[in-house]
């Protein structure tokens, strides 16, 4: 009980108070701890904890396969994917590269052309300059390409052999290979994982459409307001929005005013008369006041859009932010003083 409950609670309270008041204390060690060490400790613990998670995932999938539970076939893919990434990260490096030295100057243009072709480089001259620079510095020239397999590298080496004296095949050191183009891990990352994630992310476009449809369905006053604001925002953000004439803007205003006034007006005919009369009145007034030539900016859709974005939206989001901020402060306070211990299971 003491180790499971009291010790974690003491750590939470101690570190919480230190982090909170450390911000105000002018003592370098405390500030270092708060800003760097504590964060690194957390990262280290989290990195070790990943083994727990990975083993749990593997255990569940293997059990599913062994017991042939429902949809167990998918688990084969999960386990195989796990094994494949482990293999690429810890057992198979790839990232082979070739170094060359000892060139004859008359063969240099041809050598540069072969390398440029392999690297998809337009100008062999650029390669030639680099090779000459390495020759001047008396160092080996490393061809700027990593090969996934030693076999592919050797095939390319055969093409270079007639032009150079020394040619070596090497591989990048363990660890750096995971971030290096040409390694198996890199290939998995960019050609399997990234496209899969992007496919998942792109689903958002369709879901935004279906969610917007539901949100914009006219059910009550708020939904109508949302629909109008949404239409104005969409129109105001595209070039065609600027071409919409002033009387559309004035009509939107009249509709908005009538929508607000609608609950207080009993007769439907009066409301229809208000809307129709208002629209006709505004168009006549606007024409008489010369708005066709010089329309007021208040009726411009991009201006209305900017206003919606700069004021009502910001006001709403700031109210939310203040509420969320206070919620975080109060929850943190409850945790720091040891009042809320639900996360420890109490």
């Amino acid at each position: 009980m003491f180790l499971k409950r009291h010790v974690p609670l003491l750590i939470v309270i101690g570190v919480g108070l230190l982090t909170l008041f450390g911000h105000f204390i002018q003592y370098k060690s405390i500030q270092d701890f708060v800003n760097n060490d504590a964060m690194q400790w957390f990262d280290i613990i989290a990195s070790f904890a990943i083994f727990l998670g990975a083993l749990n995932m593997l255990k569940l999938q293997v059990i599913k396969i062994i017991k042939k539970q429902k949809n167990w076939q998918y688990s084969i893919l999960a386990v195989a994917g796990f094994a494949f990434v482990i293999f690429a990260g810890f057992f198979y490096r790839g990232a082979n590269f070739i170094t060359i030295s000892g060139f004859e100057n008359d063969k240099l243009p041809e050598l540069s052309s072969i390398i440029a072709e392999e690297l998809n480089e337009d100008s062999p001259y650029f390669i030639q300059t680099k090779i000459l620079a390495s020759q001047t510095e008396n160092t080996e020239y490393e061809i700027d390409k990593r090969f996934l397999t030693a076999g592919a590298a050797k095939r390319f080496m055969e093409k270079l052999t007639p032009y150079v004296e020394n040619i070596n095949l090497e591989a990048k050191i363990w660890g750096s290979h995971v971030l290096m183009e040409g390694s198996l891990f890199y290939w998995i990352f960019f050609y399997i994982k990234t496209p899969l994630e992007l496919a998942m992310f792109s689903l958002l476009a369709f879901f935004v459409a279906s969610a917007s449809y539901r949100a914009f369905r006219i059910r009550n006053f708020e939904a109508t307001l949302l629909l109008i604001a949404g239409i104005i925002l969409m129109l105001g953000r595209v070039p065609i929005g600027g071409l919409i004439p002033w009387w559309v803007g004035s009509t939107i205003f009249i509709l908005g005013i009538c929508a607000i006034a609608a609950p207080f007006i009993r007769g439907r005919k009066i409301l229809v008369g208000m809307v129709g009369g208002g629209i006709i009145f505004s168009i006549i007034m606007g024409t008489l006041m010369g708005w066709n030539q010089n329309p007021p900016s208040i009726f411009s859709i991009p201006v209305i859009q900017d206003w919606i974005f700069a004021y009502p939206t910001v006001a709403g989001s700031r109210a939310l932010k203040i509420g969320i901020g206070l919620g975080i402060v109060a929850t943190s306070f409850r945790i720091i003083i040891g009042l809320d211990r639900s996360f420890l299971g109490e």
């Binding site: 899969l196 969610a211 949100a215 929850t331 639900s342 420890l344």
Partner: protein
């Protein structure tokens, strides 16, 4: 005036006096207002906790999303389906995740009581361990430790969209009757909520990521907006000291509103040249 208010006011003045004396030597210069804000917020919340402990009656308005928690579990029980709880994609260093786990305890208590299956896929190992502890205690509290098993809280992956794909897969295969999204969410929020919507699950969401709230509001049946999410644990526990902290939080909100109004007025006076004191220079 209440004696405790006077005591706390004196305490505040002493602490601020000490800060002023040690400013530049022990305490960081230029953070006086921030420090005062921290002390005022802490004192206010603690004062109301203390009041609640001493038996003061504190009114809490009904939060439909929290009232619906039991209803959602009950619905899953009636339909003979499982309950899915997603605690977000962040680690335990985020208050939202901790709040999500706190609510998980209450959900787990209901699933234990109703003998309904609970599925908690997580994306962080530390959250998995904490989630297991929370569920274990909840099942024990409900008197059904026999129904608890470790793998009801299981790890999926750290990657955001792989995790999302994993959860939508679970939804499609298991068709849970109730889905809870309570924690920190980013772009995956709408994918999860729409997937849950497509299977007809009753969905309750809550997050501190303010940009994701509109998505949840659109696609879920109940959404805990803003501070509603953070008071959930206190609201559900009904412990006086936790309920008191909610009242304290509301009073702090009132103080913030007063401070905003005062700042606007004083800044307006300053800009009109009526006063020479610039309030914004203190912030």
């Amino acid at each position: 005036m209440n004696i405790k208010v006077i005591m706390w006011s004196i305490f505040f003045l002493i602490v601020m006096g000490l800060y002023k004396m040690g400013e530049g030597v022990i305490f960081v210069e230029g953070l006086r207002i921030q420090f005062a804000a921290v002390i005022i917020i802490s004192i206010t919340i603690y004062y109301y906790i203390d009041r609640a402990r001493s038996g003061a009656d504190i009114y809490l308005r009904t939060i439909p999303g929290l009232k619906a928690l039991e209803e959602a579990v009950g619905r899953a029980t009636e339909m003979g389906k499982s309950v899915l709880f997603v605690p977000g994609i962040s680690d335990l260093d985020q208050v939202e995740t901790i709040t999500g786990l706190n609510i998980l305890g209450h959900v787990a208590e209901h699933t234990a009581k109703y003998e309904t299956s609970l599925n908690v896929p997580v994306s962080k190992s530390i959250v998995m361990e904490a989630g297991r502890e929370v569920c274990k205690e909840a099942y024990l509290r409900a008197g059904r430790p026999d129904l608890y098993y470790d793998d009801m809280v299981h790890y999926v992956t750290e990657e955001q969209f792989a995790y999302t794909a994993g959860i939508t897969g679970i939804m499609e295969r298991d068709k849970p009757a109730a889905c809870f999204y309570l924690g920190k969410f980013y772009a995956e929020s709408l994918i999860l909520a729409e997937a849950g919507n497509s299977i007809g699950a009753l969905q309750i969401a809550g997050t501190g990521s303010y940009s994701q709230i509109p998505f949840f509001v659109t696609a879920c049946d109940y959404t805990l907006i803003g501070e509603e999410f953070f008071v959930a644990s206190a609201y559900l526990s009904k412990k006086p000291e936790l309920v008191g902290s909610i009242k304290g939080q509301d009073i702090v909100k009132l103080l913030v509103m007063i401070a905003i109004a005062l700042t606007v007025v004083l800044n307006g006076f300053f800009q009109s040249g009526w006063i020479s004191f610039d309030i914004l220079s203190y912030l």
